[in-house]
Amino acid sequence: MNWLRRASSEPLWKEEFSVHTADERYVTRRQLTKFLVLTSFGMFVGNIWILVRSLFYKTPSYSQRPVARLGEIPVGGVKLFTYPTKEDHCIMVRTGENEYVSYSQKCTHLSCAVYYSQTSNRLECPCHQGFFSVKDGAVLQGPPSRPLPRIVLETRGEQLIAVGVEV
């Protein structure tokens, strides 16, 4: 019946729970340190990725498309359109007799659709109260940290032509 006997003289519970609490904590701290360093490497790789994207960035070419007729909207009025693709919603505001401005309608915070508030004369995001200047799309207030991309407009005859996007 020797084969039934355990080789060790230690109690069974010590064999089954052989890792001491202190030792276990010791190993866990080392593992956490390794994990933190790997995360640091991940952050570095992320920065390298941004650098590579910056170095190989090519200014995209945009198509030219008529988006409105002159006088189509009243002063202080708004027209919504899509540019450069059907998924990119934009907002055009007639700020003066011969002044039109146009921006991407996507808030730079979390992509909610901005609208023009005629009373406060600014573009407002209803989700988190981000406000943008209607003059240049700059952030006036709220969580967005980047201005709205501006749609470059040109007047040709009676047509307003969208010719590009300025980030």
């Binding site: 920065n47 941004i50 980030v167």
Partner: protein, 84 residues
């Protein structure tokens, strides 16, 4: 004046590891902020910020790596001391 208490090697090793971990954690927080700031800047069209951000991030990663190697060395010393 009493002589300083000599701590066991394992306790000293744990203290060193905890200190290194705290430093690595601080560096990591700065790196996370740097990555988000660089990305924000890139999306805003300011592409000239990417190079200094990458360089500083690399330096911080190297410091983290150095601290990890230090922790590894301390750990192996403690372990070899225990075996003896």
């Amino acid at each position: 004046m009493q002589p300083p208490v000599e701590l066991p090697p394992k306790t000293r090793g744990l203290t060193a590891i905890a200190g290194a971990m705290a430093l690595i954690a601080v560096l990591l927080i700065v790196q996370i902020w740097l990555l988000s700031a660089a990305l924000e800047s890139f999306l805003a069209g300011h592409r000239h910020t990417a190079l200094p951000a990458a360089v500083f991030s690399g330096v911080m990663f190297l410091v983290c790596l150095g601290l990890y190697l230090f922790v590894d060395r301390v750990d192996s010393e403690v372990r070899s001391g225990e075996e003896r």
